[in-house]
Amino acid sequence: MCSNRYRNSLNPEPLNPHMPPNPYIPYPVTIDKITVENDARDLRTFRLVFRNPADRAAFDFRIGQFAELSLLGVGEAPIGIASSPLDEDYIEFTVKRYPTGIVSTALHQSEVGRQMGVRGPLGNGYPVERMAGKNIVIISGGFAVTTLRSTIRYLLHPTVRPTVNDITVVYGARSPGELCYKSEFLEWQERDDIDVHLTVDKSEGDWQGREGFVPSVVSEVAPSAENAICLICGPPIMLKFTIPVLREVGFDPEDTYLSFEMRMKCGIGKCGRCNIGDRYVCVHGPVFSLAETTELPREY
C-alpha cells in the first residue's frame, strides 16, 4: 500500500478542517515538452511541470505508480509515470493515441504550454523495499515500457545504483521505429553497470541490433534467478510466452511482478470498475506478484 496520503495544493483548506482533501481535484500542471517516441507518431512523451512548485514535493511517487492525466472539458486517463521519482522538477508520461481514446487524442493534439491536470500518485508501484541487494531483471515489450523506463532511470541514479546488484534489461518492440526512448536505451547499452538487450520482432532500415521475440531473447540471455527480482510488463501475448521461460530459468512466482492495465475512472478504489476478482487494480495494484495473479480469476 503506498504510504503517501493524497495531498493537493489547490484546496489547502478542505471544506472543513477535519475533512480529507477532495481526491478528485487534479494538480495544475503545464506541458513543458512533447517528444514523439515512434515513427507511427502515435506515442508521445509529455513532460509536465507543476504550476505550483510545492506540488512536486507533494507528488512524491514510487516507481511503477500511475496518475490520472486530466484535461478539463475532455476527461481523464490513467497513465503510468515514465519519469524517475528522482527527476526533481518535472514528471513525464508516455501516452499512446487510440482513435476511440478521447483524452489520448486530445493530448496528442495539445501543444507545449497547454495547462492540464495530474491526479495522483496512484497505485502501489513496484516493491522498491525488496530490491536492496538483489539482481534486477526487467523485461518489457512495446509501449508498456513506460513505468519500467522510470524504474531503470531510478535504479541508475548514483544514490540508488550501489544498493542493487546487476541489472538485466530485455526490451523488445515490433520494429526499430516502435522502440521507445531509443536514445536513452542506446546510451544505457554503452554502460557497464547495466546489461541491456534490445530486440525487434522484424528488423528494417539500418537496424543492426538483435532480431527476435522477447521470450526467445529471454531464454537466450537466461538471467540467473539467484537472489533476483523480475519486473515484467508488456502485451498479453508477450506475457503468455515469457512467463513459462522465466519459470524454466527458475524465477519464483513470488519474485516476479507484473503491472496490469484496466479501465479506470476514480483511480482511488471507489468507482468499482477496475477489479480483477476482489482486487482493485487501481488501489491493490497495478503491480501484482505472479503468485498473486494465479489466485486472481482470469478476468483481465
Partner: protein
C-alpha cells in the same frame, strides 16, 4: 433515551417542521411508485406499507449526478473551483435494511487510503431517521431478516420512528445528531406507557424472526470457487443487461466520471454507472475484459457477496428486495443465492 408518541398526522407535521431548517428526503407516492424524494411544499409524505420505497434514498448520499468541481477554460489555460458545501439534510423514514445499506456506502467511501471527501462531507451533515415496522408488513420480495436485520432494528439511526400498526408511532432519539433536531421534536408528547409496551412487544417479535440464515462468510468461500461454474449462464440467460437493479439498489455505488461542457465553462461530474453496461470496462484499445452477460451478471453477484465481504467485512447486500421488484424479467437474486448453495463442493 428520550421517546415521543405521535399520531399519523404528527408524523406529517414532524416532516414539515424539519423542512423549515433542513432539506428533507422522504418517501412520496408518485404514479404508483413510492420514491425517496426531496420534500417540497407541494409534495406530501407517504410512508409505503412495506416500508421500502422502490427508489432508495441512495441519491441523497451519492446523487445520480454530483458536481466534483467546476472549471473555466481559456485558450491554453484552465481554472477550477469547488462546489459549495452540502446543506444539512434529513433522511426521513429509512427502513432498517436501508440504514445498513448506508453503512455499506460509508465503509466504501471512507476507506483509506483515499477517503472520498465529497461523500463524507454530505454524510456528515446527514441525519438518519429510521422507520421500524411490525414484521408482518415486510414486502414479499424483501429478505433482510435472512441477513440479520430486523424490521424494528434501530441500529445506526440518529432517530427511530416505530410504526405500532395501530395508527400510532413512537419516536426514539438515539444520538446527539438526533438531539440536534430537538426544536422540531420537543413539542411532541413523551411516549405513553402502552405505546412503549406495544413497541417492545413488536420489537421482540421482529427480532425473533431474524433468521440470519445467509452465512456471508460461507457464501464468500463458495463464490470464490464458482468463478468458472456454468451456473452463471443460467443466471444471465433472461437478463437484458439494463441498469434497473443496480440503480435502485441502495448499496450499488459504482460511478462514472464525465466532463459536462458549455462553451468555456463546465463541471466534472460523477454519474451513477452499472457493471451491466458494456462501456463500464471497455478499454480505449477496444479490449473488454467482460464482453458477455454471464460475466456481468457474475460480477454483480460477486461484488455483493464476495468482494464486498473480502475487502470490507460486510456484505454489499441488505436484502431490501428492490432488485427482485424492479427487474423487468423478474430475475430473483434469492434464487441465485439458492443456486450457489446447491453447487457441488469442488
Amino acid at each position: 433515551m428520550r421517546t415521543k408518541s405521535l399520531s399519523r398526522d404528527d408524523v406529517q407535521a414532524l416532516a414539515d417542521a424539519l423542512m423549515r431548517r433542513h432539506r428533507v428526503m422522504a418517501p412520496v407516492l408518485q404514479d404508483g411508485v413510492y420514491r425517496f424524494e426531496w420534500l417540497r411544499d407541494d409534495t406530501t409524505l407517504a410512508l409505503p406499507p412495506g416500508g421500502i420505497p422502490k427508489v432508495s434514498m441512495k441519491s441523497a448520499l451519492l446523487p445520480r449526478t454530483e458536481v466534483l468541481f467546476y472549471y473555466k477554460l481559456g485558450k491554453n489555460t484552465e481554472a477550477t473551483a469547488q462546489p459549495p458545501a452540502p446543506a444539512a439534510q434529513v433522511l426521513f423514514g429509512v427502513h432498517p435494511c436501508d440504514v445498513q445499506a448506508i453503512k455499506v456506502l460509508d465503509a466504501v467511501f471512507s476507506a483509506e487510503p483515499y477517503p472520498d471527501a465529497p461523500y463524507l462531507a454530505r454524510r456528515e451533515v446527514t441525519t438518519v431517521i429510521g422507520l421500524g415496522l411490525p414484521r408482518d408488513r415486510t414486502p414479499q420480495t424483501a429478505f433482510f431478516e435472512r441477513l440479520g436485520i430486523g424490521s424494528m432494528d434501530s441500529r445506526d439511526c440518529d432517530l427511530f420512528l416505530a410504526d405500532l400498526n395501530n395508527g400510532r408511532f413512537v419516536l426514539e432519539i438515539l444520538t446527539d445528531k438526533g438531539e440536534a433536531l430537538a426544536d422540531a421534536i420537543d413539542s411532541l408528547p413523551d411516549a405513553s406507557e402502552d405505546d412503549l409496551a406495544r413497541l417492545a412487544e413488536l420489537r421482540s417479535d421482529a427480532s425473533a424472526h431474524v433468521t440470519a440464515d445467509i452465512d456471508i462468510a460461507d457464501l464468500k468461500e463458495r463464490l470464490s470457487k464458482l468463478f468458472e461454474a456454468d451456473m452463471w449462464q443460467e443466471v444471465a440467460e433472461r437478463c437484458i443487461a439494463c441498469g434497473a437493479c443496480s440503480y435502485l439498489c441502495p448499496t450499488c455505488h459504482c460511478f462514472d466520471i464525465q466532463d459536462e461542457n458549455h462553451g468555456n465553462v463546465g463541471c466534472r461530474v460523477r454519474n451513477w454507472d452499472t457493471c451491466q453496461f458494456d462501456l463500464f470496462t471497455k478499454h480505449a484499445s477496444g479490449h473488454n475484459p467482460r464482453t458477455n452477460q454471464q460475466q456481468r451478471a457474475r460480477q454483480r453477484i460477486m461484488h455483493k457477496y464476495e468482494y464486498g465481504y473480502a475487502n470490507f467485512g460486510i456484505p454489499f447486500c441488505t436484502g431490501c428486495g428492490r432488485c427482485v421488484l424492479s427487474c423487468p424479467m423478474h430475475s430473483d437474486i434469492r434464487n441465485v443465492l439458492e443456486q450457489i448453495q446447491e453447487q457441488p463442493e469442488p
